[in-house]
Symmetry: C2
Subunit: 352 residues, 2 copies
Amino acid sequence: MADETRPTRAPTAEDVARLAGVHRSAVSRTFTPGASVAPQTREKVLEAAATLGYRVNFLARSLSHQRSNLVGLVVSDIDNPFRAQLLAELGTSLVASGYRPLLLPTERGGKVARHIDMMLHYNVAGAIVTDDASPAEIARQCADHGVPLVLINKRPVSDTVLNVSMDTETAGELAAHALFDAGCRRVALASQRRSSHSIGLRRSAFWRACERLGIEIADEYFGDLPNYEGGRAAADAFLADTIDVDGVYCANDYLALGFIDTIRHLSALSIPGDLKLVACDDIPEAGWLAYDLTTVRQDPVRTADAAVNGLLARISEPDTTALPVVVDVHLVKRGSTALTPPKPRGQARPPL
Amino acid sequence: MADETRPTRAPTAEDVARLAGVHRSAVSRTFTPGASVAPQTREKVLEAAATLGYRVNFLARSLSHQRSNLVGLVVSDIDNPFRAQLLAELGTSLVASGYRPLLLPTERGGKVARHIDMMLHYNVAGAIVTDDASPAEIARQCADHGVPLVLINKRPVSDTVLNVSMDTETAGELAAHALFDAGCRRVALASQRRSSHSIGLRRSAFWRACERLGIEIADEYFGDLPNYEGGRAAADAFLADTIDVDGVYCANDYLALGFIDTIRHLSALSIPGDLKLVACDDIPEAGWLAYDLTTVRQDPVRTADAAVNGLLARISEPDTTALPVVVDVHLVKRGSTALTPPKPRGQARPPL
DNA sequence: TTGAAAGCGCTAACAT
DNA sequence: ATGTTAGCGCTTTCAA
């Protein structure tokens, strides 16, 4: 009768109670952290549970609690190594804190509305958003439903949602200084065409810093997206131009990789010989031999930690105003801004 | 009284029923795909639901159904671009199919047991595992609890769990042929030290193919992990050796990037001049100008689709035996195996 | 087609 | 400290 192939229904608290000779509530209490159970009752329950392979049904528990320990993780552009690292960190960190990440990947142009909908279906305890899409709506909806929300590197929407972002202002300054120290006085910018909050901030901060330092910004070049292809496109535009610059700031590393490759492989320019380069993020690739890119580091581990801790805080005290968290950045100096002996021709940018 | 700041409790089916002037079950039926509701009742319910912002509580629904539409996604090494792509695809594909991915990232050396535990707590509808850790235990446990399981590129464990894997045999052949066609007759292998099912298959298949073609395998070099650093370590070992080879097969692209960088930047050897290189996966980086790596493509989209479709099939018919799915591979020819004019010195591998 | 009622597995307030 | 009981929000037989 008891066929091994037919997996029997999962054991319930009732089953355990029966076997242990106690009441269901005793079982419940045994598995509830702050409950009072007699040590020996607890023992009996634990043993029975073990032999039966009992596990608390979190769905039922969440139903009682009116809130699950699921956390919505809205992410886009996982192909960007920084995002991938961040996602991994957020995931492990959440799991370590007893929460379960519900992964909600956003395709480009995908409806974020679907995701909030989803999360609300699941009574998520909170949500973390690092998507590039505009979070205004998602934030409002979450607020309406009392779902604590954390935005990473996004435009702040209200003082009820926590904003965790890198120190863009300092990042811009560090980048400008790095170029200045490398001798640059006339630079270009490379970024994405589609406007983005965080990229926008990086650009303007860099711009201001250059002004202060007396660095002239000659022009700006764009790719469609802030990725490798975007960097290549920006570099193509750059090379097609005839302006004379001695440095370039790329809005992020991922894009910088494409920029570098195009410059190195499809032009006669040398980095850092003819052109210094600085970017932002410090993805692992920036440290690779093929790139050796000076960049402003934004630590994904600390960012993720700040986001998760912040979320936990908001979950336990949802009614406090959320003070924005700014994650420090620092310059990682590499070969792309190395000082080089003056070129024989003595020209910053030789004709192609 | 009705303060906007205090988000009111989410509306329930009861609330909707009251507003629509019907019974709760009518509401339930309205939101149950195959139920029978009078068109106008349905209309009333839908309207009431809309004004109240009602959403079915999936936790409660799952409790009734005895199974949620959560799917465990056990992933490790998200830093590997192939894994990142796969994860993104799996996520979007699951969401598109009406399932919700529960992200369970495995740290290196992390206990997978924790994850199965978690999934069982949530009555997941199924699970997809692309983790590198041994899945034997996880598979057994899932089977015990009737949780459909799909393994991607892992060692098969039983005919109740579906195995989706790339065609390693063909991959080995394609790689060997690519090297052969590029003129290689004596090659080396680069992979990871820690044994891994999929890497192991790639190696042995390549080995056999070389034997058939009359390519001699001179030696094998290892890095600790199948990543960039692993590739660098393997290349270091390779360079420290004095064997004379004309080609190298890297067990995966990610590792190959490190291998290439070390060869290109820390040795006098040229690729493909002195050394042809072939790897496996076809991550985006392989096509970058800095690498231009000939590789055997394993399409993450098709792999993910196969896994998700397979999972759905097993969810609907859990008692059929799972026929392994093999995902086709093909060669992507790039510069690392380009034929080059004979070197002036006429020597395959010049001394450093 | 619709209302009534039982039950999914668990928690928590209450009573003992 | 433990048993009792009333829900949590939904689905689903069963009658009507």
